[in-house]
Amino acid sequence: MTVVGARIDNRLLHGIVATQWAPQSGASRVMVIDDTVAEDPVLKESMKLGRPSGMAISIISKKTALTNFKAGKYDAQKVFIVSKTPEIYLQLLKQNIQIPEIILGGTVVPEENTALKVSKRAYILEDQFDVYKEILKTGSRIFAKFVPSDKDIDLATLI
């Protein structure tokens, strides 16, 4: 199993991810998939402060992630992925990358009143419903959870 952890988080690799989620997953590599950060050298350098000790770090675009996974670059590794949005996970699943569980950690508080609040810290936008549903259809499970000790909120029961 290459992907040992996956998280959706608007702050990407921040303290709680770096000190709790990534280390607890047993990952050897923490991977931020985000086009904006990957293409901005300053943001990229700043985010590297979040590298958990002993772990390799990748801060890459969606395109690079899909290419690298397809090429089997991480096959011998254990990867913990963070992304702001769910789309990349669906794309990876379609490439037959196994992701048994995705954690919906945090999102920005949306202005749209059509968004669904799933936890104190996470919302699903109207146009994301289908993506989440498709992910669930592949057999992956999605739980809303900010810190590991939070109770699981199973998305399958909400959407």
């Binding site: 608007n10 702050r11 690799l13 921040h14 303290g15 770096a18 000190t19 300053v42 943001l43 350098e45 700043s46 985010m47 402060l49 979040g50 590298r51 958990p52 945090g106 999102t107 920005v108 508080v109 810290r121």
Partner: protein, 134 residues
């Protein structure tokens, strides 16, 4: 002017300043308590705190090195008048503030960090007992 900012996740910064005032009286220290009202820490907020005149120096204290608060301020260290120390503690802030008359530099801050580290110690019962006591 030397300025200080304590920037933390949530309200630790305010608590530290409250305790600090108890020790050294009123001091001009700014605080940033991130993620209290919002899930985001905006660039405008960061720019507000890092806006300096040419004579100003700023020492930023943050809670954890890997955290988003530290990450957000990191790019501003390109400004040579801005310094940042993570792992803030009361002994650390006290050391830095009490060195207010010394010329600020990365070397000075390294020394002050060492002093503050020595204040972090495990205390065991009777460890300090000396034969000559009493």
């Amino acid at each position: 002017m030397r300025k200080y900012l304590i920037a933390t996740h949530r309200k630790m910064a305010e608590g530290l300043v409250d305790t600090l005032h108890f020790f050294v009286g009123e001091h001009n220290i700014q605080t940033l308590c991130a993620y209290v009202d919002s899930n985001e820490l905006s660039n405008e907020t960061i720019e507000h705190y890092t806006r300096l005149s040419d004579e100003d120096e700023l020492v930023i204290f943050t809670d954890i090195a890997s955290g988003s608060v530290t990450q957000k301020f990191y790019p501003y260290l390109k400004n040579e008048n801005i310094y940042m120390i993570s792992g803030v503690s009361m002994p650390l802030i006290l050391s830095v503030i009490l060195a207010e008359n010394e010329k600020l530099s990365t070397n000075l801050l390294d020394e002050l960090i060492e002093q503050a580290k020595n204040q972090m110690q495990q205390l065991t019962y009777k460890q300090h007992e000396n034969k000559e006591d009493e």
